[in-house]
């Protein structure tokens, strides 16, 4: 039996009369790489905010790392990692200072942070950058570091919101290798992306359209169902058919 680390049942989120999330139900399993796809404005960001404890559901039951998103959002925040494309690290702090800061925010002991910090710098072959300001690092390195910092406290789940936007094609692939390694350690990866080739790297993907999850399966499962050769074609079929029905 697979162990669900995210369990969502009948999640509804309304803003006034607008229904951003319309009865979402799904589970994400331990160590899984779960791709969360959808058209712009489909409700992904809203759902992501609820799952990471930043926003409360209007109704429905949402359990993340064993905690209820309506009752214990603070406990959720302690047990997850989060990284997005736009902001993750402080530009005017050094690499080491950022690591110490985030370790502290996650309540890790100082000795442990130091130990993990040096481990991390070595693993990323980052030793020479330890005392450099983030603003001096190339974008690709920054994104890799941001991801490592997001899992510094060994959370059960890490949420990645378009982590590879604008990144060069080599770094993008190195980034996904880090994702694979992390998932192999048992950390669940919950990732959004507009790169449809990256969706193919996921164990399972869901596709949202107009507030609902309209497809959820393995990439191969979806391709078979829609009789196409790529996740991109699945995505286009689903989103286009949604647009026609409106």
């Amino acid at each position: 039996m697979k162990n669900a680390v995210i369990s969502v049942h009948d999640l509804v989120k309304k803003f006034g009369s607008f229904v951003a999330n319309d009865h979402l139900s799904f589970e994400v399993y331990e160590g899984e790489i779960f791709g969360f796809l959808g058209a712009n404005g489909a409700g992904k960001t809203t759902a992501l905010r609820i799952l990471s404890g930043l926003s409360a559901p209007t109704s429905g039951k949402v359990l993340v790392a064993g905690f209820d998103a309506a009752r214990d959002p603070e406990k959720i925040k302690k047990n997850i990692g989060y990284m997005c494309q736009k902001f993750s690290l402080y530009n005017d702090l050094t690499v080491r200072e950022n690591i110490m800061l985030y370790g502290g925010i996650y309540g890790m002991r100082k000795a442990l942070i130091r130990e993990r910090c040096e481990e991390l710098l070595e693993r990323l072959r980052f030793m020479e950058y330890g005392n450099r300001l983030i603003s001096d690092l190339p974008l690709g390195l920054r994104q890799k570091l941001a991801f490592s910092v997001a899992v510094l406290h060994e959370p059960r789940i890490v949420f990645l919101d378009e982590p590879t936007g604008g990144v060069d094609p080599i770094t993008r692939r190195q980034f996904w290798e880090m994702i694979y390694e992390t998932a192999a350690r048992g950390i669940t990866i919950f990732v959004t992306t507009h790169y449809m080739d990256e969706a193919e790297y996921c164990d399972r993907i869901s596709i949202m359209n107009e507030g609902r999850i309209v497809a959820l399966d393995t990439p191969d499962g979806l391709k078979n169902k829609y009789r196409v050769d790529s996740v991109e074609e699945v995505f286009v079929k689903i989103v286009r058919s949604g647009k026609i029905s409106v």
Binding site: G38, A39, N40, G41, P138, L139, G140, E162, G165, G166, V167, D168, P169, I170, T171, R173, W176, E177, Y180, A184, H194, Y195, M196, D197, E200, Y201, P219, D220, S230, V231, E232, F235, V236, V239, R240, K243
Partner: protein, 303 residues
Amino acid sequence: METVVEAAGIGKKFGNLSALKDISFQIGTGEVFGFIGPDGAGKTTLFRIITSLMIPDEGKIKVLGHDPVTEFEEIRKHIGYMPGRFSLYQDLSVEENLRFYATVFGTTLEENYHLIRDIYSHIEPFKKRMAGKLSGGMKQKLALSCALIHQPRLLVLDEPTTGVDAVSRSEFWDMLKNLRQYNITIVVSTPYMDEAMRCDRVALIQDGQLLQIGSPGTIRDGFSRKLYSVTAPEKYKLLLALKSFAGTESVFPFGDSVHLTLKEGVTVQAISDYLEKSGVVGVTMRETNAGIEDRFLELMNRK
């Protein structure tokens, strides 16, 4: 074909950072010309130079036959520029923004409505809405309409599709294609390699340098090795095994498969034997054609 943009040896520095190094290219009338590369490659700096908003440190550039440094007024009359960041007036309505840009360029919405009809019709039902309240896709359509309203001869679009979903991206390119009938030259940048296929010619750009210029077909043909597409149910295991194989020259994940090139003299049989020994099961392997991204990776690796 008349040349619309002609750049020779353009260089630009910010402090110690070389944002652009020795950039040379020519763009002809009516072309859709794409600059393809990641963030920080220098695309925006180059576009600011083309649009006369920034002066290069080195090199020569002519836009519509004029020098952007000394004759910027002439150039600005005839270009439409859509910057990467939404830069319309958030506290004006959709229609007010359009009328404002039309007036600044001495024309009216009515006079050039035919140019923007395909694009504007999507947002016209919301013409009374404040621009700041529009969704991302609608902002993009409004910005394009405003850049087009004075019938520019050259349209410069800086990453118009960044952060946009795959379907809306494809629709945006369809709109650009429709502009061909007006003979407007389009210069566009994007970090999405697959969008290269929608351009007549592209320039691959990385770290302030052009890696290659040509039609998408020419660029793909530039890929110099035999390329294999390899699949297995356990993708990560397959990738690690191929990385550890001594006969591997390059290996990159590509969607549902892994793209592989082999060192001189290494046979397909040798690689199947190695994968079998490494315990990777259910392997398929076939030759495949290189895409733009394969070529980009090859050029990056060579540097």
